[in-house]
Symmetry: C2
Subunit: 411 residues, 2 copies
């Protein structure tokens, strides 16, 4: 059935479609997305856009920014954002006790973690237009017949197609039957919400597609599944993740974020631009061309990126002072404004190695000796020389390893 | 902990153990059974003996007699028999609609089928000492957390060890996830009943062992699993089964049972003796030796078996008259006492082939002609000869094909 669509509406539909499908890994199915956008524009009815969240790991890093920026685009087009806190499985835990990530959480812990999400997401999204759901509110109501019905929608073979299950099955690592329920629960969340679009990382595609299958089973219009690229971490190799210690937390201080962005391998930079900056595709194209023609220094490109990200998470002022601070410390060798204190309890006269190991700036006497030899140790910005041995400890003394590790001695 | 056991008690324990472990395919574990019998004798506490029944197929045949006789032994030793009607899954049916045997049954149908079981089992067991349970009464109470707990007791690989699942998985025939629930439900029945012993055919061992696993999970003493041999059907090849048309129903008339037993291949006879007769192992040994030395005619051995089975299902008198009847018909060529009527609506003068095909005694004119040629057709015990063509139909006329198919014409 074709409806008369005005030129203005046509433009709106095209704009939404073009923005929303930019910088995504996959859309299942694009035609469905276009139809949903069209229906939304014509009927002036926002789409339900879903993001599922694991309540056990509330610390958000720049990897999450990829999906948050996409949610923000949906929000800016007037669509409704639904965050689903997966508290149901969290509150059950793992009955086999085999999975550390499925430790049973109390209601209080779940709610505390959910608040953390909301606070951290609030740096990007307008939270007044975001609905937060706990999936226990519908999953707890399922009875045994509903559950049999849910299970009957899927075959063993299809479930084992999921990457991690395939690997474990082939390696004869036990897969407990209840683990098959979790993708189904996640899919059922889409049914409960009448979700139109679900977002996730591209490692989540299997789970998100379960939602489509279940919505179809429940005679609902199937959600569009959009997966986002996974941001590579600071190591330039692995997916950014808290457990891999290669991440930039979105609540980290501007100075820290600035420094960490500056440490990204050059080769990853354009990916970061595309995934988490506010630069348009055109602007990124220009930057890329300039870099390739050596018309711009990659370091300056990184500075722009770092400031852009800090501006998103904080504001322009924080971005400017982070840059200033970085220049002070790394370019001019100045001491940063804020450095941690260390309360000294030891003797007032100690060896250099004792000073740097007692304060944990260096792990061992050997490491301290090597650093000294390489000229990497300073006291009050003055480089220590090989041959120096004893130091007189004084209150306010600033000790330094390399370019970035500082301590102020309190004595 | 050893308890003082009197000589009398020791004898009782040994007798029970010896009788109950006779003619079974397997016992898991024998030592546990002995311990359970000992506890039962010492504390004068009956064991809970479980048999699960599928409410969709209530017709009982001699194959079931194997397990019924074992139940009767338990009953005679004072133990408690629990029949579990698996109505829960029956009332749910198969959500995928893929399995014909899982058609959804109404509460009325389930109860009707359960009554049929009780009536038919009453021919063997003293039903005053049998408890009938519907597993919906506990399974319906399970909530979603209980279910996750149940599922967590088993791995995918372990579930796929079940014969039929292995085959289907290897053949890429879909296995729907809810199918994994059924063995778990069956196992949970044992938990709900605090079952001490569960009986079943030897094709049921996988399912019965699930009960042990679940009881262990719920900190109960594990049930002993006893499997019985599967009786081969009248064809001498396949397991006796209604769907294979090779069965003897336990409610069939004595004459029919007698005839069917007489048709068993000689080679199967001892198996029938061991599985479903009341003859002791010693008596069966004697019979076997006599047969092997040609001191007894296998036909007479079959007659003894047929009469023994009819006596179990009916009484001595029925056994005697079935034998008498068999002798009349098959040995002396007499007409049996009871033969079905056929109300004739056709012409009074018809061809032989019309007579025998209209009454459905024979499938086609060609078959009638061949039977006539072979001397297999009779009217009022008089053999029809090739060349005979027309017959005058009269009321009370008995028509006969071969030795066993009779009809009385009502005209």
């Amino acid at each position: 059935m074709d409806v008369d669509v005005s030129e203005l509406q046509k433009n709106k539909i095209e704009e939404q479609y073009s923005v929303l499908t930019s910088n995504v890994t996959s859309v299942v199915e694009k035609a469905e997305l276009k139809r949903k956008i069209k229906d939304s524009v014509i009927n002036n009815k926002p789409l339900n856009v879903k993001l599922g969240l694991d309540p056990s790991a509330p610390d958000i890093h720049l990897g999450h920014l990829v999906v948050l920026k996409k949610l923000k685009q949906f929000q800016q087009f007037g669509h409704k954002i639904h965050l689903v806190i997966g508290d149901f499985t969290g509150m059950i835990g793992d009955p086999t006790g085999k999975s550390e990530s499925r430790v049973q959480l109390s209601k209080e812990e779940v709610e505390k973690n959910a608040r953390t999400y909301v606070e951290q997401f609030g740096r990007i999204l307008d939270m007044r237009n975001v609905e937060v759901h706990y999936n226990s509110s519908w999953l707890e109501k399922l009875n045994i017949k509903n559950l049999i019905d849910l299970l009957s929608t899927t075959t063993v073979a299809r479930m084992l197609e999921r990457n991690d299950f395939t690997k474990r099955f082939n390696n004869q690592t036990p897969i407990y039957l209840h683990e098959f329920l979790y993708p189904l629960f996640q899919g059922y969340d889409s049914v409960a919400l009448h979700s139109d679009v679900e977002l996730g990382g591209n490692d989540q595609q299997y789970n998100l597609l379960v939602g489509r299958r279940l919505q179809d089973h429940f005679d609902q219009s199937k959600q569009v599944v959009m997966t986002m690229p996974l941001l590579v971490g600071l190591d330039g190799k692995m997916k950014m993740s808290k457990s891999k210690h290669n991440y930039i937390g979105i609540t980290e201080k501007p100075d820290i974020i600035f420094g960490k962005i500056m440490s990204i391998p050059d080769i990853q930079m354009l990916e970061y631009y595309k995934s988490i900056s506010t630069f348009s595709d055109k602007e990124i194209d220009v930057i890329e061309k300039k870099m390739n023609s050596n018309l711009i220094n990659p370091k300056d490109v990184k500075v722009m990126l770092a400031k852009d990200i800090i501006k998103q998470l904080y504001n322009q002022k924080s971005a400017d002072s982070a840059e200033q601070e970085f220049n002070n410390v790394f370019k001019k060798g100045q001491v940063p404004n804020q450095i941690p204190n260390f309360a000294w309890n030891g003797d007032s006269e100690v060896s250099i190695s004792t000073l740097f190991t007692t304060t944990s700036l260096l792990p061992s006497k050997g490491a301290a000796m090597r650093m000294l030899k390489n000229g990497g140790l300073r006291i009050n910005s003055k480089k220590l020389k090989e041959g120096d041995s004893k130091v007189t400890v004084s209150d306010g003394m600033i000790i330094q390893v390399g370019k970035r590790k500082f301590l102020r001695i309190k004595y």
